[in-house]
Amino acid sequence: MDREWNDNQPIYRQVRDRVVAMILDGVLKEGDPLPSVRNVAAEYRVNPLTVLKGYQELVEERLVESRRGLGMFVNSGARSLLLQGERQKFLGEEWPRVYATIQRLGLKAEELLRDGGGRPESSETGDAAGEPSSDAAKERD
């Protein structure tokens, strides 16, 4: 787990999101136990109640189950449930913004898919205002 917290949402939501990322990335597999509340609290210097809040959200979302006295475990089907939810979230919330940007910049599908959707060709580097992107500038340095 990343040790840095951002200011955009409560820490317990970020704990939840990090466990979700670990499940999606396959770091936590179905049937695996979640790291203990105490260990996460000590290692990431957060209140144990904060960690528990994050875990409890995952229980509510049926991604993990609480086994009395044993801890919390990733449910079977959690990854596909997450993928389904995350896909819907991307298509519903993020994709419209991305699509609008693509339209605004006049990007073509082949440009987006080139090198796995990475960076544009060197002659085209820069944003719409003609300024070089920071990535491109770093490369030149």
Partner: protein, 195 residues
């Protein structure tokens, strides 16, 4: 007429002496309200405490590793008590670390608690003390800020002795599902002599 001229100064001197005697006499102490007594009781907790934490729903391994830490500080000339939770060794950097802060103060005849939550809200609770004054229980009154991410809902302070107390905190998750943490606290100042 002569008698009248004699008695008037004597009377005035006597009244003055009486008034001075009354002013000098100790006033009977105003009895403290239950809220004041409870607040005084909680202020005795000022200091640094190491906490063993257990939670509900129950989780294993809660006794392993370093304890959590709670600090209580009397401030504002005795008008407020600051309660702060943190993990041992966590730098006092509120932008990066989890430092839930709670303020306790007297609001007229009510001992009041406001919890400043990183969920972005501020629940207000008021206290009722047990008969023996050893337990002070705070019930939810109202809240300011968003409850999108839930809110702290209930708190209980139980005083065992000068170096031992317990705290029970109940957080209400979205959908009004409670989770609970029990803090068993030993005074760290005594253990480490670092007060």
């Amino acid at each position: 007429m002569k008698m009248k001229g004699f008695f008037l100064p004597v009377l005035l001197v006597s009244l003055s002496a009486l008034a001075q005697a009354q002013a000098a006499a100790p006033k009977p102490p105003v009895p403290k309200s239950d809220a004041q007594k409870a607040f005084e009781q909680l202020k005795t907790l000022a200091g640094t405490w190491d906490a063993k934490v257990s939670v509900t729903p129950p989780m294993p391994d809660m006794d392993t590793g370093k304890p959590s830490q709670v600090t209580l500080r009397v401030t504002s000339r005795g008008n407020a008590l600051v309660h702060e939770m943190s993990e041992i060794d966590a730098p006092a950097d509120p932008t990066k670390y989890d430092h839930p802060v709670t303020m306790l103060y007297l609001d007229s005849d009510k001992l009041t608690l406001i919890h400043y939550c990183d969920a972005g809200n501020r629940p207000r609770m008021t206290a009722r003390a047990s008969e023996d004054g050893k337990t002070v229980e705070f019930d939810f009154v109202d809240i300011s800020g968003s409850t999108k991410y839930g809110h702290m809902h209930h708190a209980v302070f139980t005083l065992v002795d000068a170096n031992h107390h317990m705290e029970d905190w109940t957080y209400m998750m979205p959908g009004d599902k409670p989770i609970h943490a029990h803090f068993d606290l030993k005074r760290a100042d005594v253990v480490t002599g670092t007060k």
